[in-house]
Amino acid sequence: MPKASADLRLSRAQLALYQALLVGGLFAFWYLMTEPILISEASAKNTAFFFGKPLGVLKVVIDWFVSGKIYPHLAITLWETLLAFAIGSVLGLGVGLWLALSPTASALAEPYITAMNAMPRVILAPIFAVWFGLGVLSKVALGVTLVFFIVFFNVYQGVKEVSPVVLANVRMLGASKAQLLRHIYLPSATSWVFSSLHTSVGMAFVGAVVGEYLGSAKGVGYLILQAEGVFDINTVIAGIVVLTIFALLLDFIVTRIENKLLVWRPKTAETETL
């Protein structure tokens, strides 16, 4: 990021200002196009029906948080995200390690893994709804199928890319099979898992929201579905805004965790502060 700003010859403050102007301009344009100020009342009504009103959206969001109506829904969505992420990661790590270390198993499973990965798995949502009901479980199941493959492929790659020299070295130092797994394959695989953390957390979130959208009784996806049913575009957009904010928040947390756990990774141009 600093490099890009240097190239553009913009200071940090300038960059922030322009970014604010960009989003402010967008909102101003949205506002002008949905209020009868520059355009006729009839066409303003028309656009507001399709695009909602910025102040209306803001009012819904504020109302949600002030009245506390959003919290149970948000809690459910985040809980589903967390469960899907945790279960998907553990499964992906386990299966990834197993297949990467067992040539027979991986040869046997390879075509099916490829097929399952190629399949648009969102389509499984209705089946999961039948199997697990309309509660939390069906959303978690959908999220797991999305997260699992990301983690799985990264772990598989991580194990395959362990340096043969490091491996030989550790064997010469007297590591047993179990110690190889614990001290070489697992750290190497987890580093790959963490590098895919952003994508997998995002996918868990997608699984939760899409699952809710396709049939549920609670959650932010459910709120959006309800609003859409009565053409309440303001609420739909408010739901999207809240989801986006929380997706950014999750991403921020992931970045923090990543920086903590992957200190051993070389960063570009690292110098000591004196």
Binding site: V165, A168, N169, M172, H183, W264
Partner: protein
């Protein structure tokens, strides 16, 4: 008399012996076989520093991997103190040419790794690792990760990592080839210091004849690959302790260098011609 002689020979069995070792690999095309090493026989006596020189790509590393037990020979056998080697050579420490440290472990944790694998209590292994990092001149760098260390420092960590287990045999595969010449001479002198403190049996592989002569008791010249085999052996009768930079200008060094180079030169040219093809 003969019984006594046999007893003496078995007692004086070399620390490490490769007996008519042949290594064949499947060809790149998969059709034929590539014979990297054929009928290689060499031995390293207890406390002896033996260097193996040969043109690049002649299968030097293959020989070392066989000695380490990382690679099983297609035929022939490896004997450690007279006993046939099966599996990893537990009495040997191996210093690799390429980076072999665990990037996710700090310098200290890399050095303690071997002790950890052998179930040494943490307090003891940490104390010993601190001592070893001090001996290789890395006090104050315990918490650095490999990528935060220079190439020379990483080699020192690798040296400490290998030597902390106190192996009887030290296998070294061009360990200093990636270093600049000054750092390299420093490391060579440090290695000689550490070696003279408790004479381990060393099998040192290099393509640098100067390095081989400066460090060794004996230099073995390998033929160009494929079907590499030892061509000749030279005893290096230079006095110890040596300084690797100073000894290069001594007349005896120059003499030995000429003698060995006469054998090595044609092999290097052969290897070069094969490389060009």
């Amino acid at each position: 008399m003969s019984i006594a002689a046999a007893a003496v020979t078995s007692q004086a069995a070399p620390a490490l012996a490769l007996d008519r070792v042949t290594c064949a690999f499947a060809d790149r095309s998969g059709a034929g076989r590539y014979i990297a090493v054929r009928d290689a026989t060499l031995a390293v006596g207890a406390g002896e520093f033996v260097s193996v020189v040969g043109p690049t790509g002649c299968g030097k590393s293959t020989l070392l991997n066989v000695a380490a037990g990382l690679l099983a020979p297609s035929s022939g056998e490896v004997r450690v103190d007279g006993a046939r080697l099966a599996g990893i050579n537990a009495r040997a420490g191996y210093m690799f040419q390429a980076e072999a440290l665990m990037p996710w472990r700090s310098a200290l944790a890399n050095v303690t790794a071997g002790l950890e694998f052998h179930g040494v209590p943490r307090a003891e292994s940490t104390a010993r690792a601190h001592d070893w990092l001090r001996r290789v001149g890395l006090t104050g760098f315990e918490d650095r990760y490999p990528h935060q260390l220079s190439g020379g420092m990483r080699k020192r960590v690798a040296l400490a990592q290998t030597l902390i287990l106190d192996p009887e045999i030290l296998l070294m595969d061009e360990p200093f080839s990636a270093l600049d010449i000054q750092t390299r001479q420093l490391m060579e002198n440090e290695l000689l210091d550490l070696w003279s403190a408790d004479r381990k049996s060393v099998l040192f592989i290099t393509h640098d004849l100067d390095e081989a002569i400066a460090l060794s008791d004996r230099v073995i010249v390998l033929s160009a690959g494929p079907e590499t085999h030892p061509l000749g052996e030279f005893t290096i009768d230079l006095p110890r302790p040596r300084d690797v930079a100073e000894i290069r200008v001594s007349p005896r060094f120059v003499e030995l260098h000429e003698a060995i180079w006469r054998v090595l030169k044609s092999e290097v040219l052969k290897g070069y011609a094969q490389g060009k093809r």
